[in-house]
Symmetry: C3
Subunit: 644 residues, 3 copies
């Protein structure tokens, strides 16, 4: 499949007179895909039942006639005001008990049956009208599930749905009481109808209660999305995608992805660095105009896996896009600088290097009104070319003789498991500790060693063919997963917190975790650490934040200066008992890489590399030229080298 | 008009036996004005309709007989409990939806019709009784509108009034939808009755929605105040004032001032430095006992302009007072130190240097009870002289042969526009950026250059006679204003963000801002900057926080080290594309001052100067003596030099 | 009385099969006391009125038969869900007006009559069944009153009860208006029924209003506890305790203690250091694995006084326990490190050195489920010995030939007064200033000087026999207390803020505070200070945070570099006018100690000492060995030296 470019367009924002010219300019810029419609409900149906298709018919026709392919979004992320008037209790409710009101977007609770019916209706109407339209070549459901903290709702609708979900999961309330350990503080229920949502409790609620609510909340998204997919499928054979948002982990993307052909995500490197990467202040300064050198790549690799969740492709070859690519300053981060010249091109090629089929810039023209009026586009508000379009044109030209999308299984894999993120968030035990952060730190170390990485779901059937598999911080593993990892031919790295809880968030206590077949390591105690008390390791590096005391007969690979084992290995299984700093993680990767026969090369700061089937890509995320394999790679530089 | 002193007095707090002696001591201390009554509603009307005038009659008589002049306040800032019982929904509502309860002060929503009726009634009664009283020589409406964040209310009353305000401003809801760009996220309304207040939305509401609500909220204050003024005018010919509070910008003081004869403000230099100036930690430490060297002066100059808003005086000669002057430690800032000896005198003279008619100390005697029991007065709670009264006596003596109030137009003007403050707050685009901060930083630079400054409203008829006019950060300028500035003979300095929005908060996009006649400069893109990434300028100084990319044929005055233009000039118009640090602002002032033929002299740290028609004042805001024009000016020193 | 050890046990958490073995292991470990039952309501009464005693009968029997003594807790801290269903309005309400929901613990409002009835019923039933049980040797009421901020509730029940409390305290609402100074902002009430709780006011409420609410809230706890005690007393003659929590000062522990035989508290040195001590970051790092060297000792001394509140013992010889002793990492602090080896032993011996009768470890076995699954116990979740049990066994062995509990009056006393803590909190006047912090800083200085200290309530009959009495920061002293202190033979140290308010929170203003008989010192003004502006003293040390200007004829002991008096003495009375830093406090202690004839020895960092009647204890709270009286005391070391 040819690599392609695209953009997000809002014909409803602009006078119809300029659509034609816009389409021509899109073609000139080398774009293929034009996403439209996802916020247009109030123009499609300005009042209940009064449907206005004409303008959308014409917009699609104009784009299609110009040779562009349309990605059509279902408009369910922005129900018009009259929908809220019909269903006043459809709003999500925040943790303080306040309804989250109309006036922006994503103002709905996933558990509200009335709103779900409205979605069925409008998606059905849109699908019916455009399902067979030859210009509509792909679909998008809703928009950025979970953005603005919208997965978890404490509404009445959620409360009732949660009770039903619990009824379906537990045979009886007695079973639930036992599974959750509700005896602890006399929290035992006599009936499912007594179970409230876990907000506003006097002190923290039972983590099992929280965890069940997190699983439920994720499942509600899967149901909501599937309702739309099922309707679309009745009318179209075009692939269906959703555009996930960076570091939104409140629902299981694999589960949603299992109903979709394509995963896509919205990549805002500069905004993310400011508001969610969690980088140090020094890194935030150094990369302020380039974005974090690993954060986007991590998501690219993650969504390749999510894109395979339906099972039509191997995990390493999932179908995925960047549906929204930052083209300049955005409007929503604490600070919103301009990108370093060249970074828009770099970000685009980086996505392709990780297997993206398409990269779509958000947005075509900067809107001079409403919430995002300071969000850059490919065009300025006065329709003059903005800087990014020049870089897009460069990619357009470079794509001409570039290879097609060439997925290839990586030598090393890293598991990312959404439920583990909820578990760490439910019980971090130390301020600032998060599963996402631990996995990202592991990913950073693998990348610093020059490795190409696949991200995997926590599934027993995906481990074949890797030389090393890193499974940091997964708190619940089924026996099947444990067996598969033990049986794997790969070097497997577990810990910390591996198998520390059962599915209900109770600690397996006989034997104590990790209770991993083939690995005689037991976590006898754990502690969390102030940032000012790193525990130095013999030979370099340190543990920060989180450390377990481990015992057993396995061989010690890393130990503290006081002699306590920190990493222990038996056969192909290694247990890492703490959160390593950069140097400790590099040492772990080196040890495992050596055992696994991986080719490692420690890269200069800000330089990253990735291999496809035929090419090695090099990216310079810094503001200075850096020597890479004997040649200078300029700031924001991209180099492609044929693999021989 | 003779410069005078005064104080704020609460006869209802003290036994009637000591009123006479208090009055005698006030006279001895050189006081002229005694403000009373503004919190006394529960003593005037302890239960509905039961009016107790006798004590107030006697208090006014005692003061008047002693030769003092009374400023009588309307008591509407503190409605008694029974008023709230009559109108339980009169309370303002905070952004979280909680009523702001009885138990302190300012517990009312400006939009509540029932409370407005109560105000009409009580103000009418007070005015009727004392309007012709010979001792009541001035009036004050309410007290410190906006203190404690009380302008913006999310009550039901506000919601209904807002809809009426919108109906009056927009011909139809379709017009409103278009003006606000509500199509953006399907936020279009079918009816004015669907429009809610912009709180508790899922993510940020449409900035046009917010801005309309900000304009409405300001207008409600103007209406509220005018209701009182209209009633008072029926009974008295004494001048009417309101006492504004420092850095309260949530309503337009010029608009309120247009109905009043005198502007006054409440000046708490030490409290303000701790809780609202926004100075650096170093400045907060260095000036902890003196207050910020520019913050009070800025307000003095601002209220001189507000005092002219009625149109009876030229803008540079508005009538204004300090209604409350800090006399010692206050009770309400994060830290409450004692002033450096001499500062109470300095603050008093500084107000006179800026044109104040009167400076009233708050308060006569420290109250030993209730909220402000740790707020110093001129007397200690035990009636012994507190330190401030000695400094007041010194001013009393110095005033004897001092000139009268002598307003004179300054050579340089600085525009301050409330709507721009709301616009920046609605969309700062970068953490910590505020219009007030930008204007204050500009004012600081003008003052460091030894300039005497007038502050101006954003009005086309006030620009005559200045050599230079600074108009930083004004986001909406009408065509009339633009024309007046272009046509001005002054050096005019615009930017950043000049003309960046229309009145509804939509970006004018063809041409892009500033679209200033006679100035070929266009803002092609803008960015906001982390505090750790200043952009150095060639020749010194840097841009911090906010920077625009500008293009055009105008001459470049300042540029970045990379060569990008930062300040550009054409004819009399200069556009400054970023927020300069101190050094950059000093360079800008020097460049403009040179072009304008201003006499500049860069002052030592903490030294400030101001010219009246006949005198040059020097003030030393530091804790050390500093050489000024060849002589040592002691710490907290004031020097007056006759202008020849 | 022999010193004893114990633990907290939850038979309802474990299969009955292992109770017997648990009991045998408890005996082996040297434990005497086993606290049970305090969270077991849902197992005692799973549905309303359906009582299940059998399991509890058997548990007590198993423990008793093994030779253990049971402390039985009333289960009222964790009412089951069905209790809340019966009384939906029994929940406390937070300051924002939100009910604090079921799902954890302490979910009740002390003012709710219906819940109080439920408590009467269940306590009566438990007392009736086990009051005469030979194995139940002590009782505990409820659990940790005030933990999780649960004293203050803004519920409807609290509002009504508060009005009744006010009616009983004030003859009329006019009296209340006058006592509170409600005239200040027209806050006068016409009826008690108009008085609301002091939350959600526009700005701060009248401090007198707040203070009354604080006194009321404390009294509600006393009533609640006494209801249980009165019932228990009808059925048992065993001593009754409550387990107070560290730095919970929202109710008066002396008042609760007056109804109990034994005070006990829950000591979590590492958790406290992280979340409530208020130590510097450097101290938090240095003591991260040892806990603060004074915080536990302070509470030990405090609860010795609380344990005497009933009047059966002299204040210096009150009966007290550690009911819960941290045995390893906990789960609830921001960071939860493991203790330094030896610290569990040190903490245990430290309690005994301060007069504890018993130290009970919380908990026997780490629970693998619910909120505290990461809270260490004496056993791991898999029943293997955890590290703490080895240190407990060491204490067991050391206790064999150690002396009995030997209380002895200390040479120096320090007053701790709960009402003063509420007063400072009501009006701190400077950020971060708290009465608790001031008293703790004073205690630290006394301890650094090697002194053994008694803590005293603010009562006139407890001052005899001390050489020095420190009374820092007590804001309200009755004339009786003032007279007793003046008449004392001890060196008495007062200030700052001594006598600064009356009982209603009004400043006595003629004469001004402290108005102490026999001490000619008057506070003429006060100020609070930024942390970056310490006021240096002549001779060393500085005042930080809070400073009064004092005047009078008393002799100056300490003065600022500018010469202002800071400490003044007349006869046996010394007034300290500010908050001294460590060096200033050390100088004050040295001055007073010299005058009082106290034996002082300045100790190395982290070394502390205490004398009982027959032994001197030395404790090393650092991570290194330290020379103490010529011999090395190892890290975490304890040394006992016979006093001859
Ligand atoms: Zn229609
Ligand atoms: Zn009357
Ligand atoms: Zn039963």
């Amino acid at each position: 499949m040819k690599r392609t470019l695209g953009t997000c367009y809002y014909p409803e924002h602009w006078p119809e007179e300029i659509w034609e010219q816009d389409a021509a300019r899109m073609v000139e810029a080398g774009l293929t895909w034009i996403r439209i419609g996802e916020f247009a409900w109030s123009r499609i149906e300005p009042t209940p039942g009064d449907l206005h298709w004409d303008w959308l018919d014409r917009a699609i026709e104009v784009l299609g006639r110009a040779g562009l392919k349309v990605v059509l979004g279902t408009p369910t992320a922005t129900p018009p005001r009259w929908v809220v008037d019909k269903h006043p209790d459809m709003l999500a409710v925040d943790a303080d008990g306040n309804p989250r009101k109309f006036g922006s977007r994503r103002h709905y609770c996933f558990s509200h049956a009335g709103y779900l019916d409205e979605c069925r209706r409008i998606v059905g109407l849109v699908a019916e009208r455009y399902g067979a339209n030859p210009h509509v070549a792909a679909w998008q459901t809703d928009n950025e599930y979970g953005c603005h903290d919208t997965i978890i709702s404490y509404s009445d609708a959620a409360r009732l749905a949660f009770r039903d979900w619990l009824r379906a999961r537990y045979d009886s309330v007695e079973v639930l009481n036992k599974a959750w350990g509700n005896i602890f503080w006399s929290m035992e229920y006599n009936s499912f109808d007594q179970i409230d949502l876990p907000n506003l409790t006097v002190t923290e609620p039972n983590p099992a209660h929280v965890m069940a609510f997190r699983r439920f909340s994720s499942d509600q998204v899967v149901v909501f999305n599937k309702v739309q997919v099922d309707i679309l499928k009745q009318h179209t054979s075009a692939p269906i995608a959703h555009n996930y948002m960076g570091r939104i982990t409140d629902f299981d993307h694999y589960d949603v992805g299992a109903d979709l052909e394509i995963a896509s995500w919205d990549s805002y490197p500069l905004g993310f660095l400011e508001d969610r990467v969690g980088a140090s202040l020094e890194e935030q300064r150094d990369y302020a105009r380039q974005g974090d050198p690993d954060f986007q790549a991590f998501h690219h690799d993650l969504y390749r896996a999510v894109g395979a969740a339906k099972g039509n492709q191997p995990v390493a070859q999932g179908r995925w896009w960047v549906m929204e690519q930052q083209p300049g300053p955005v409007n929503w981060a604490p600070y919103n600088p301009s990108p370093l010249p060249g970074m828009v091109r770099l970000w685009t090629w980086e996505a392709f290097a990780h297997g993206a089929e398409a990269v779509c810039y958000f947005r075509w023209r900067q809107a001079p009104f409403a919430q995002e009026q300071l969000h850059a586009g490919l065009l300025r508000p006065d329709s003059v070319d903005a800087p990014a379009i020049h870089e897009a044109r460069q990619v357009r030209d470079e794509l001409i003789d570039a290879p097609e999308v060439q997925p290839k299984q990586a030598p090393v894999a890293l598991v990312f498991d959404y439920a583990s993120d909820w578990m760490w968030a439910t019980q971090p035990q130390g301020q600032g500790l998060s599963y996402f952060g631990l996995v990202l730190d592991t990913y950073r170390a693998l990348r610093r060693a020059g490795l190409t990485v696949d991200i995997l779901p926590l599934r027993a059937d995906v481990f074949d063919g890797y030389k090393a598999i890193f499974v940091p911080g997964v708190m619940y593993l089924s026996d099947e997963i444990k067996a598969a990892l033990s049986a794997s031919k790969a070097q497997v790295v577990l810990g910390p917190r591996t198998g520390a809880r059962d599915a209900d968030f109770v600690m397996p206590h006989a034997p104590l975790p990790p209770a991993m077949p083939g690995l005689d390591v037991t976590v006898s105690r754990l502690e969390t650490l102030r940032p000012d008390m790193p525990i130095a390791l013999q030979g370099g590096g340190a543990i920060t934040g989180y450390l377990e005391e481990i015992e057993g007969s396995a061989e010690t690979l890393l130990k503290t200066e006081a002699g306590a084992p920190v990493a222990m290995r038996q056969g192909n299984l290694t247990y890492m008992a703490g959160w390593g700093d950069g140097a400790a993680m590099d040492r772990l990767v080196a040890l495992i890489g050596g055992a696994a026969g991986l080719e490692l090369r420690q890269l200069p700061k800000g330089i990253r590399t990735r291999d496809t089937a035929t090419e090695r890509f090099w990216f310079n995320h810094t503001t200075e030229a850096v020597e890479v394999e004997g040649e200078m790679l300029p700031a924001a530089g991209v180099r492609r080298v044929a693999l021989t």
